[in-house]
């Protein structure tokens, strides 16, 4: 066999092997999605299926609780045990093991928040005891001292339903679909609620996770005697990158101004800002690898073959990827950083934003993961 033929043969083999793996992942997700849909009655099915070009539903995601930003679709709380199980199987097919763990920990944090709120302890934020209809008490009466002038309780249930029930907890996460699950045509699985918005777009053998929002409150809690930090990797690995920089690099990476919130959070689709901070071309190979490890905390949420493809893309971009940090450059062991950071490349925006609302900002974190060139899989697939 001559050498050009040999080259094409090996390329074809690699292509077929990778396609076979990707097809397996896609078919597994489609199969799980259809299995879930088959458990629903007609009304439920109608509530979860949206047209792929339904722009209103596409952007109906948020960091806010569902009482403040209502979601559409079907929540766990309205599912039978069989439906719940099928829904979890779908998530397990669409996400990696670590991604599923992270998502479950975020939901569990909301359950902790629900319990803390019911007990008047809050979620790691400001002191408890507030009573303006937001939190801390089971009643739904007016706050101590009454609401501020002109404020009506009706417009602000603040995490409570019409009957005064708390609207937090792991049952309040919604499933919906843009388009019908298919191995051939593009569709999106949307899953989310408070502090979580996962958008997994399946386009043939491609799996796209952007945009995805993760967050947690409390971002540190105990469960069965174990300390859980749903976003602990995002915090620790980024701090490790910062600590690995020399003085000159840190000077470039650390911004001299406060960043109070996500810049490209919900509602900022299609925007791309000028990158700032330290360009990874000015990092050592080891530092770049550490940065890729941080990135993998988001890129690795989706199922393994899609995550691998995404990491290949982001590794190729790494020299043109920027790392910027704003805030304290230290953290207590086992605690989250209180600083904001951003990682930005040609196909990537990651933001990590602790929320300044009294108390430890590291206990209430929002993060954003985007591909400015391909959010929702809008970039045409290469044919």
């Amino acid at each position: 066999m001559n050498t050009p033929l040999c080259f094409w043969a090996s390329t074809l083999m690699l292509f077929l092997l990778s396609s076979a793996n990707a097809q397996t992942a896609t078919s597994r997700i489609v199969s799980a999605a259809n299995a879930f849909l088959s458990t629903l009655d007609e009304k439920q099915r109608l509530s979860v299926l949206f047209a792929f070009d339904d722009e209103e539903q596409r952007v109906r995601w948020s960091n806010f609780p569902i009482s403040i930003v209502p979601r559409a679709g079907l929540p766990f709380k309205d599912m039978t045990p069989a439906q719940h199980s099928a829904a979890m199987n779908l998530l397990a097919a669409a996400l990696s093991k670590r991604g599923l763990d992270k998502v479950q920990q975020i939901m569990e944090a909301d359950e902790v928040l629900k319990t803390n709120e019911a007990n008047g302890r809050g979620g790691g934020g400001p002191p408890p005891g507030r009573g303006d209809g937001f939190a801390g008490r089971k009643g739904d009466g007016p706050p101590e001292g009454g609401p501020p002038p002109g404020r009506g309780l009706g417009g602000n249930r603040g995490g409570r339903g019409p009957g005064g029930g708390l609207l937090f907890g792991k049952d309040l996460y919604y499933f919906s679909f843009l388009g019908k699950p298919s191995e051939k045509t593009i569709w999106t699985l949307q899953f989310g609620g408070h502090h979580l918005a996962v958008n997994v777009t399946i386009d043939g053998d491609r799996g796209i996770l952007t945009p995805t929002l993760t967050g947690a409150q409390p971002a540190l809690y105990t469960s069965n005697g174990k300390t859980v930090r749903p976003l602990g990797g995002e915090s620790d690995k980024a701090l490790a990158v910062l600590n690995a920089l020399d003085e000159g690099q840190r000077k470039q990476a650390i911004l001299n101004y406060r960043v109070p919130d996500l810049v490209l959070g919900p509602g900022k689709d299609g925007k791309t800002i000028q990158p700032e901070g330290l360009r990874a071309s000015n990092m050592t190979g080891k530092q770049r690898d550490m940065l890729l490890e941080v990135i993998s905390e988001w890129a690795g949420i989706v199922h393994e073959s899609a995550a691998a493809a995404r990491m290949t893309q982001l590794r190729a971009d790494i020299s043109d990827t920027w790392f910027a940090w704003s805030g304290a450059a230290t953290a207590e062991p086992g605690r989250n950083i209180t600083a904001y950071y951003r990682i930005q490349g040609p196909h990537l925006v990651i933001e990590y934003s602790p929320q300044q609302m009294g108390g430890d900002p590291g206990l209430h974190v929002h993060t954003m993961y985007r591909d400015p060139t391909n959010d929702y899989g809008r970039k045409p697939a290469a044919k």
Partner: protein
């Protein structure tokens, strides 16, 4: 007004643990520079604890709704607190669009007021500087300013500087007659690069190829 603000914050600062923005008035601006124009998208999000104070500034007749006149009046008030200069010359910002959320959303800390502003920039040299200063409600403000990647290929973004609170923002940029990415002095290099590339392709096709990363079938 100060007493009213202090009272509102005092009452609400015993915060709901889940609430997201409390006693700050987030003012996030995205600046976009074009060849003869500067645009600014300003998103104003009052936190729960300051929302009544902000609503009181906007809904001046306190009828629970924001009329067109009230909206325009508030936009003008924001504009008074903004200063935009290009190369040291103050520009007059015009409101191109203004949108207010329902008051209920503002009370929940998620209502975003959207102001789109634009100003024509005077002709100038190649190296230019935009300075945006925002003093709107500085006692409760949390400022954020960033520059959008330019859609105008004749604009190239340079350094950005800010003070700690981001109330003062400086942006250096360059305006050229050619699309950014190719410095004007090097435009003559394009045909040379094309010829070189063609030559390289020709040479590449002529050279013997070894199989890399695959079994060497010919060795058997």
């Amino acid at each position: 007004m100060t007493v009213r603000l202090a009272a509102a914050i005092l009452i609400l600062s015993r915060a709901p643990a889940f609430a997201h923005r409390l006693d700050e008035y987030l003012q996030a601006t995205l600046v976009e520079v074009e060849k003869h124009r500067v645009r600014a998208e300003v998103t104003l999000t009052p936190g729960v604890a300051v929302s009544e104070f902000v609503i009181h500034m906007i809904d001046t007749d306190a009828d629970g709704a924001i009329s067109t006149v009230e909206g325009q009046s508030y936009a003008a008030r924001v504009l008074e607190d903004l200063t935009l200069t290009v190369d040291g010359r103050r520009l007059t910002l015009q409101v191109t669009s203004v949108q207010f959320p329902p008051l209920s959303e503002m009370r929940e800390g998620r209502g975003e007021i959207q102001l789109d502003l634009a100003a024509r920039s005077p002709r100038g040299g190649r190296d230019r500087k935009v300075v945006l200063v925002n003093h709107h409600q500085r006692r409760i403000a949390a400022y954020e300013v960033n520059c959008l990647l330019p859609r105008d290929p004749r604009v190239r973004i340079g350094a950005q500087k800010r003070n700690y609170s981001q109330s003062i923002y400086e942006l250096d940029y360059q305006e050229t007659d050619e699309p950014s990415g190719i410095p004007s002095g090097l435009i003559w290099l394009a045909p040379v690069a094309l010829l070189l590339t063609a030559r390289l392709v020709f040479v590449w096709r002529e050279r013997p190829v070894r199989c890399v990363g695959a079994p060497n079938w010919t060795a058997r």
